[in-house]
């Protein structure tokens, strides 16, 4: 019997395991999911924890319970993958597992220690991140005690998970301080390495407009070299860029550098310089060997590191694993499709939908009658809230969601006029 080993039981790993389980007769293949811990976190929920709008308990469920029966779940830390001999080695007692197909779905790892001073005396005192359960919870307590001053939200460098999340944090912080009646005592600054609010021009303009309308200062092309903070109460800290600009803060919310999982670095040939796995952008087959695939945040693709991408990739990838095992040609059908709800505060949200070739545009999704794109709306906010049950019961269970296909829909979008031939 062929064995498919899936490393990582998060969004991508879980939904691919469940899709493959449904695709084969019981007993036709062995599917093993490996993860180092037992907690599946609904990561979009982390954004809401610092503002008391979600609890860490409500966004966490056991990993094994999300897997369909017939899938083997193995909790173990991975030492390295021996790509040449099709074998995963585990830490500790020297156990290993052979595979016919390997799927890397171990996501991205936060690397706060790679930025000078970030994990220094101020870490978890006046310097926080909301990208972990512990960090989001600690930040919630710090925000409760924050009575005014300078709050800097900083992205150290790309790529990061959910590139819109730090912007959403700014919008929700504006809302939060307003509700507490102290917005006029808080200076909010968004400090980004990009040359605008976001990576893609149309969305960048819209989002910069929203920042300005909410009185949030935007500092661009800021390549964070170090974070200076004594951690002493009442003492300010500074973000310092490599070109020696400084942004002072009383409270800093920093999104640290990201890299691939640590075992990728220990697995010869598997990852790139940052530990992400190079894959074909359309088939998701790894460049290192034909029986290795990857999806989600773990890949080197120029797509967002977001759950929606893992979802759209999952359908293509599960089909390609089947084709590979059957000796058929792979389908080169993944188009880089991503979509995200962007909370803009006051019970509204934007929706963006894009792929490798088409930037986020205005219009409606998934067709002319649908959710408004790139425009704050109550409907989008409700969509974002409604998404969590859909995530647990539909998306990661490997079910198709009616009307939502992996390929990006062009219908409903205000596409730019085609360039006339000859130009």
């Amino acid at each position: 019997m062929k064995r498919i080993v899936i490393l990582g039981g998060g969004t991508g790993g879980t939904l691919v395991a469940n899709r493959l389980r449904r695709a084969y007769r019981p007993g036709a293949v062995e599917i093993v999911v490996v993860d180092r811990d037992g907690d599946h976190v609904y990561q979009p929920g982390l954004l809401f924890v610092p503002f008391g709008l979600a609890s860490t308990r409500r966004i966490t469920r056991p990993r094994w319970r999300q897997l369909r029966s017939g899938i083997v779940y193995c909790q173990a830390s991975i030492d390295h993958v021996d790509v040449e001999h099709d074998r995963v080695h585990f830490g500790g007692a020297g156990h290993s597992l052979d595979y016919d197909v390997l799927i890397v779905a171990t996501g991205a790892r936060l690397l706060p220690e790679e930025t000078e001073g970030l994990t220094g005396p101020g870490w978890q005192k006046n310097v926080f991140t909301f990208y972990t359960l512990g960090g989001a919870e600690a930040l919630r307590r710090a925000l409760e005690e924050f009575g005014g001053g300078r709050l800097a939200v900083n992205v150290v460098d790309m790529p990061i998970k959910c590139p819109v999340a730090p912007l959403e944090f700014c919008f929700l912080a504006d809302d939060y301080f307003r509700r507490r009646g102290i917005r006029d005592r808080v200076d909010l600054t968004y400090v980004t390495p990009l040359d605008g609010a976001f990576t893609k021009p149309v969305a960048s303009r819209e989002l910069a407009g929203l920042l300005a309308a909410k009185g949030i200062e935007l500092v661009t092309e800021f390549s964070t070299g170090s974070v200076e903070s004594s951690g002493q109460p009442g003492e300010a800290g500074r973000l310092v860029s490599y070109d020696e600009r400084a942004v002072p803060f009383d409270l800093a919310v920093v999104v640290p550098l990201h890299g691939g999982a640590a075992y990728v670095d220990r697995s010869p040939g598997l990852g790139d310089e940052l530990g992400f796995v190079p894959v074909d952008p359309h088939t998701l087959q790894a460049k290192v060997k034909p029986n290795v695939f990857a999806l989600g945040d773990a890949t080197d693709l120029p797509a967002s590191k977001a759950g929606s991408v893992a979802h759209f990739e999952g359908e293509v990838l599960a089909g390609n694993v089947r084709r590979f095992l059957a000796g058929e040609q792979l389908a080169a059908s993944f188009d880089g499709h991503a979509n995200c709800f962007i909370e803009t505060g006051r019970g509204r949200a934007l929706l963006i939908d894009f792929n490798y070739d088409t930037e986020p545009l205005t219009g409606h999704y998934p067709g002319p009658v649908g959710l408004p794109l790139l425009r704050p709306s109550r409907l989008n906010h409700l969509g974002k809230l409604a998404f969590q049950p859909l995530y647990w019961h539909g998306l990661i269970r490997g079910r198709d969601i009616p009307g939502i296909s992996p390929a990006m829909p062009a219908r409903g979008k205000n596409l730019p006029a085609p360039v006339s031939p000859g130009r």
Binding site: S223, Y242, L257, E273
Partner: protein, 105 residues
């Protein structure tokens, strides 16, 4: 596309000044491009980065980002900013005659 003359050769560049055809580039052009970017003299450390950028582009079809440069070129990010104060990946790519490194999303 504008045409400019570096080291006596006409080359085409895009709106941001990056060579559109890396094949047109020669090492003799580098000091002139650098000087337009405010870099007076190219030291051996500059050249280490420029040659590394060229090699990476030839191997991978895209220039490395600052972070990858810092990890793999043998020059730290801090020193990269001292060598190319206006942004190492972008400026070094321009001097090396390769396209602007693809940003992440």
């Amino acid at each position: 596309m504008p045409t400019v003359t570096y080291a006596g050769h006409d080359v085409t560049v895009n709106d941001e000044g990056f060579l559109t055809d890396p094949g047109q580039w020669t090492e003799e052009m580098a000091p002139q491009i650098a000087s337009a970017e405010g870099i007076g003299e190219l030291t051996p450390r500059h050249w280490q980065v420029i040659r590394f950028m060229r090699a990476q582009y030839q191997a991978k079809g895209t220039g490395p980002t600052v972070r990858v440069l810092g990890k793999t070129s043998g020059v730290t990010v801090k020193e990269l900013y001292q060598l190319f104060p206006k942004g190492p990946a972008k400026v070094a790519a321009k001097i090396a005659g390769i396209p602007k490194p693809r940003g992440c999303i």
